[in-house]
C-alpha cells in the first residue's frame, strides 16, 4: 500500500508546490492556476468525455456480444478466435495507427484513393484526422480487443441454467444477453467500464498523432503538454492528475455499492457449464467473428510487418521499397541482447509478482472481513489514475527518501515494483470480478470437511481461477514489456529494457526499427500467452 499511496500523495502534495530555483519549494495554488489558465482546457475536457462516450458506446455492446459468443456458445474455433483478440491487444498502437493513416488519410490514404476513383464518389469519404478517425483507431488498436479479453473468462464462469431459463421462457438471444447475462455480469462490466474511463483519461498517443493536426486536444494531451514545457510544469501536471484521482473516487464508491447490493454469484455447487447451440447460424456467426478478429488483429499485424520490411513505411513506389536493414539494425545494436535479457527479467518478474500480489489483494477484498478491505480496494484503483511519468517521479521520491529502499535505486527491483504497480488496477479488478462470481459454499465445503483456508484456496479456488490468473500474468507481462513512460524515468544503463531501445529508435524517427522491437515484444508475449492459454485451457471451471 505504501508503494502506491506514497506516489499518490506526492502527486497531490506536489500539485500545491510552487517550485523555487534550488529545488526547494513553497506551497500555494499557482500550479492549479497554471493548469486551468489554459484556454483550451474546457474543450479538452469536453473532447475527452466525447471520445470516451463514443468509444464505449460502440465497444462495450460489441465486446459483450463477442465475448458471450466465444464463451457461451458452440461457435467453432472459439479458443483460436479468442486468442486472436489477445494478439490484437498485444500489437503496439503506434505502427498500427500509422497503418490506418496509410489507408484513411484524406489525401493519400489508399482506401480513399481507391474510392475516389469510382465514378460516383466525389471526395474522400474517410478522414483519419477527425473525431471519428480517433474513435476508429482506438476501437481497432486496443479497445474492443481488451474488452473481449476481459469479458470472456468472466462469461465462461457463468452457470448455463440462467440463460437456459431465459431462452426456454421465450426470450430471444439478444434479450437474454442484455436482460439476464449483462445484469449478472455487473461487477465485471462495471470494472471494465471504469477501467475504460481511466484509460480514456490517460490515452494520448493516438490523440497526439491524429488529433494535433486539427487541434483536437484531450485531457491527457494537456498533461503531456505541461510535462514537455521547459522547465516541465510538474506541479501543474500533477494538479491535472489529481483531478483524475478525484474523479475516480465517486466512481469507485459507486462500483463498490453496486457490487455489494446483491449477490453476483454465477458459479455454485450445481454449476452447469454447457454452451448454447447456435444451430444453423453457427458458421455465419463464426465468419462474422472471424472478420472482426481479423480486422483488429491481422490487418494491424500486416501493417506492423510491412513497417519492419519497408525501406520507408507507406512508400511503395520507390526504387527499392523492401529491405531487411531495420531487422539487422535492431539485432546488431550493441545493447539489444542486454535489453532483451532485461525485458525477460522485468516482464517475467512482474507477471509472477503481479499474480501473487493481486490474488492476495482481491482475496482480501472479496473473501475476508478484514477491516481495511475497502481502503485496500480503493488503493488498488489508484495506480490507474497516475500517468506513467508521474508514477515514476513518485517512486523516485519514495526510493530516495526512504533509507532502507535507497540501495535499490537504479536496480531492476525498482523497475519491477513500478511495473507491478502500473498493472495493479487491471489485474486486481479482473481477479476480483472472477471471485465475485464464485459461491462461497465451494470453499466452505472444504472447511466443513476439515480442510484449512489454504486447502480450500489451493484445492477449490485456485483451479477455478487459474485461467483468470494466467490472463492477469499475461497482461502484466505485456504491460511491463511495453512500459516506456515510467521505465524511461527510473531505468539505469544496466537495467534498460527493450522498450527503451524502441524509444531510442522513435527519437531517431526510425519508426521501422521501432516496429521491429515491437514485433519482438509481441512474439515474446504471444509465446508466453500461448503457453499460459494451454495451461489455462487445462484448468478452469469447465474442467
Amino acid at each position: 500500500m505504501l508503494m502506491v499511496l506514497y506516489p499518490a500523495a506526492v502527486i497531490v502534495l506536489t500539485s500545491f508546490e510552487s517550485q523555487g530555483v534550488d529545488h526547494q519549494s513553497g506551497f500555494g495554488l499557482s500550479a492549479w492556476k497554471i493548469a486551468f489558465s489554459d484556454p483550451g482546457m474546457h474543450s479538452a475536457i469536453w473532447n475527452t468525455v466525447a471520445v470516451t462516450l463514443a468509444r464505449q458506446a460502440i465497444a462495450l455492446p460489441i465486446a459483450i456480444l463477442l465475448a458471450w459468443i466465444l464463451a457461451r456458445t458452440d461457435i467453432p474455433g472459439a479458443n483460436a478466435l479468442e486468442f486472436l483478440f489477445w494478439l490484437g491487444y498485444f500489437l503496439p498502437p503506434l505502427p498500427v495507427t500509422l497503418g490506418w493513416i496509410l489507408l484513411l488519410d484524406p489525401e493519400y490514404g489508399l482506401i480513399n484513393q481507391w474510392l475516389t476513383g469510382l465514378a460516383f464518389v466525389n471526395k474522400a469519404p474517410f478522414n483519419i484526422y477527425s473525431f471519428w478517425g480517433i474513435v476508429w483507431a482506438h476501437l481497432t488498436t486496443s479497445t474492443i480487443a481488451v474488452e473481449v479479453m476481459l469479458f470472456t473468462p468472466a462469461f465462461r464462469n457463468m452457470d448455463a441454467s440462467l440463460e437456459e431459463a431465459s431462452l426456454t421462457s421465450g426470450a430471444g438471444v439478444m434479450r437474454t444477453l442484455y436482460g439476464i447475462v449483462v445484469p449478472i455480469m455487473t461487477p465485471v462490466v462495471g470494472a471494465v467500464l471504469l477501467l475504460a474511463i481511466v484509460h480514456s483519461l490517460q490515452a494520448f498517443e493516438l490523440e497526439l498523432i491524429l488529433g494535433f493536426p486539427f487541434r483536437f486536444y484531450v485531457f491527457s494531451t494537456q498533461i503531456y503538454w505541461l510535462l514537455h514545457q521547459q522547465p516541465p510544469q510538474f506541479p501543474a501536471a500533477m494538479a491535472l492528475s489529481s483531478i483524475i484521482l478525484f474523479v475516480m473516487v465517486p466512481l469507485v464508491v459507486l462500483q463498490r455499492r453496486t457490487v455489494a447490493r446483491r449477490s453476483f454469484v454465477t458459479v455454485g455447487g450445481r454449476y452447469q457449464g454447457h454452451r448454447q447451440s447456435l444451430g444453423k447460424w453457427r458458421f455465419l456467426v463464426f465468419f462474422v467473428l472471424l472478420a472482426v478478429a481479423l480486422l483488429i488483429t491481422v490487418v494491424p499485424f500486416v501493417f506492423l510487418m510491412l513497417g519492419t520490411l519497408m525501406t520507408r513505411f507507406g512508400y511503395f513506389n520507390i526504387a527499392k521499397p523492401w529491405t531487411s536493414v531495420h531487422w539487422s539494425r535492431v539485432i546488431y545494436d550493441s545493447v539489444f541482447l542486454d535489453s532483451f535479457k532485461n525485458t525477460l527479467i522485468l516482464a517475467g518478474a512482474t507477471a509472477i509478482l503481479s499474480v501473487v500480489l493481486f490474488t492476495l489483494i482481491a482475496h482480501v477484498v472479496i473473501r475476508t472481513r478484514f477491516v481495511g478491505r475497502a481502503p485496500l480496494d480503493f488503493v488498488s484503483w489508484l495506480p490507474s489514475t497516475l500517468p506513467g511519468i508521474i508514477l515514476g517521479v513518485g517512486l523516485v521520491s519514495l526510493f530516495l527518501g526512504t533509507p532502507f529502499l535507497r540501495p535499490l535505486y537504479g536496480s531492476m527491483s525498482l523497475l519491477v515494483i513500478a511495473t507491478v504497480i502500473s498493472s495493479m488496477t487491471l489485474g486486481v479488478q479482473i481477479i476480483k470480478s472472477t471471485l465475485v462470481q464464485l459461491g462461497i459454499e465451494l470453499e466452505e465445503a472444504v472447511k466443513v470437511s476439515g480442510g484449512s483456508g489454504w486447502n480450500s484456496f489451493r484445492d477449490i479456488l485456485l483451479p477455478i481461477i487459474t485461467p483468470t490468473l494466467l490472463l492477469v500474468g499475461t497482461l502484466s507481462f505485456i504491460a511491463a514489456a511495453r512500459n516506456v513512460s515510467t521505465v524511461a524515468l527510473i531505468a539505469s544503463s544496466r537495467t534498460r529494457p527493450l522498450s527503451l531501445l524502441q524509444l531510442d529508435f522513435m527519437v531517431d524517427s526510425r519508426y521501422e526499427s521501432a516496429a521491429v522491437v515491437g514485433v519482438i515484444v509481441v512474439v515474446l508475449t504471444a509465446g508466453i500467452a500461448l503457453i499460459s492459454r494451454l495451461l489455462g485451457l487445462r484448468a478452469g471451471i469447465e474442467r
Partner: protein, 368 residues
C-alpha cells in the same frame, strides 16, 4: 650599440615567451597527467567510472562507445533522457541529497538557467585542459563563442547546425509564387502550412522566436493565423511535406528530408530563400555539455569532457552521430555545417531565452 641592445631584448623576450609557453604546456600536462589513467596519479582510474546523462537515440549511444574504447579503464554509464525526464529525476535526486551524475549533454533548455542559479553546474573552463580543446582557431567564431550562457562558463555548445527556417515542396508551389519568408502571409497559403508545435521548445518555437526577433511579433501572429496544421512528430511533418499534403513546412528536420530525398521522394523540397537572417538559423541540437556540481567522479568527468571536445570526440559526433560539430577541423556535413565567416542568428544563446519564451506564449495564445 642600440641595435645590439635591441637584439638582447628580443632574445630575452623570446626566452621569456618560450619559458611561458613551456610552463603553460607543462601546466596542462601536469593537470592532465593528474587525472589521466595510467599516470602516476591516476585519479580518474581510481574513480573508474563516469556517469553521463545524454540525449536519447541510438546514434549518440554509439558516439559515446568510442570513449570506452579510448579509455577502457573508465567505465562509461551513459543514459539517454528526454529533457523532461532528466529534469524530473535530477530534481528529485537533489532533493534527496543524491549526487549521481557527472555530465549532462542535451540541447539548451531552461534547465541551464535554473541549475546555474541553484549552483548545480560547475564552471567548465577549469576542466577543459587539452590545448586542442582550448584552441581558439579550432572553434567556429572562437572558443568563447561556443559558450551559450551569459557568463561563458557553464554550457558549451559543441554542435552548430544551420537549418532553413522554411522548406517548400516545389513540386506543388513554384518559386515564382513563393520566394520569401514574408510571402508566407499571403492568404493563398492558408491551410497549406504545417509547423512543428511552436508552443513547446523545439524546431517550431525556435523558428518563430527568430522571426519575432527579426521581423517582429506581429509577423509571427499573422503567420500563426494562417490556419496552420500542427504536429509534434518530425516524421509526420516530413511525410506531409513530401506528399504535398502541406507543401510548406516550418521546422522540418533536415536529416528526415535528406532520408526521403535519398529514396527519391520529395526531390523538389527546397529551403525557402530570402534574406539570410530570416531564412536560416543556427542551432545547437542536442549538442551542448555541462559539468554537474558535486560530481561523483570529477576526474573521470574531466577526461570525458576533454575527449568529447577533442578532435577525436567531435569527429565521432559528426561521423557516427551525423550531427555537425562546431569544431572546424572535423569533417563537415554538407547542408548542415555552418559556413565560416557568416553571421548566423543563433537563437540558443541565453540572452535570447526571453525571445524564445515570448514566442511560445504568442503561439499558445494564437493556436488554441
Amino acid at each position: 650599440m642600440r641595435r645590439q641592445h635591441g637584439l638582447h631584448l628580443t632574445a630575452i623576450l623570446v626566452m621569456v615567451l618560450g619559458f611561458a609557453l613551456r610552463a603553460e604546456s607543462q601546466e596542462w600536462k601536469t593537470k592532465w597527467d593528474k587525472i589521466l589513467p595510467f599516470s602516476c596519479l591516476p585519479d580518474a582510474k581510481k574513480e573508474g567510472k563516469v556517469a553521463v546523462a545524454g540525449p536519447p537515440g541510438t546514434a549518440y549511444r554509439d558516439v559515446m562507445r568510442a570513449f570506452e574504447k579510448k579509455y577502457p579503464e573508465i567505465s562509461l554509464e551513459f543514459q539517454g533522457f528526454t529533457p523532461a525526464n532528466f529534469t524530473a529525476r535530477f530534481s528529485k535526486e537533489r532533493q534527496a541529497g543524491q549526487y549521481l551524475w557527472d555530465i549532462y549533454i542535451t540541447g539548451p533548455t531552461s534547465f541551464d538557467v535554473t541549475a546555474k542559479k541553484a549552483g548545480e553546474l560547475d564552471p567548465l573552463r577549469a576542466v577543459l585542459i587539452l590545448p586542442e580543446v582550448r584552441d581558439e582557431s579550432a572553434w567556429l567564431g572562437g572558443f568563447a563563442k561556443a559558450f551559450l550562457d551569459s557568463e561563458k562558463q557553464y554550457v558549451f555548445a559543441f554542435q552548430a547546425e544551420i537549418t532553413p527556417q522554411v522548406q517548400v515542396n516545389r513540386e506543388f508551389i513554384p518559386e515564382s509564387e513563393l520566394n520569401s519568408v514574408k510571402g508566407l502571409l499571403n492568404a493563398k497559403w492558408k491551410g497549406k502550412i504545417v509547423i512543428d508545435d511552436p508552443r513547446v521548445d523545439g524546431p517550431g518555437s525556435g523558428r518563430i522566436a527568430l522571426w519575432s526577433g527579426q521581423l517582429g511579433e506581429e509577423f509571427v501572429r499573422a503567420l500563426l493565423k494562417q490556419d496552420l496544421a500542427v504536429t509534434r512528430d518530425g516524421r509526420q511533418l516530413a511525410d506531409w511535406l513530401a506528399r504535398g499534403k502541406y507543401p510548406i513546412a516550418i521546422g522540418a528536420n533536415d536529416t528526415e528530408i535528406g532520408e526521403l530525398q535519398k529514396l527519391g521522394i520529395g526531390s523538389k523540397i527546397e529551403p525557402l530563400a530570402g534574406k539570410l537572417a530570416e531564412a536560416w538559423r543556427m542551432g545547437t541540437g542536442w549538442g551542448a555539455v555541462r559539468l554537474v556540481n558535486k560530481a561523483p567522479h570529477p576526474n573521470a568527468a574531466a577526461v570525458f569532457i576533454n575527449w568529447l571536445l577533442s578532435k577525436e570526440g567531435q569527429t565521432g559526433w559528426a561521423t557516427i552521430g551525423g550531427r555537425p560539430s562546431r569544431r572546424m577541423d572535423v569533417p563537415r556535413i554538407t547542408g548542415l555545417s555552418p559556413e565560416p565567416g557568416v553571421d548566423y542568428f543563433d537563437i540558443d544563446r541565453e540572452e535570447r531565452l526571453q525571445l524564445r519564451d515570448k514566442a511560445k506564449e504568442i503561439a499558445k495564445a494564437v493556436l488554441q
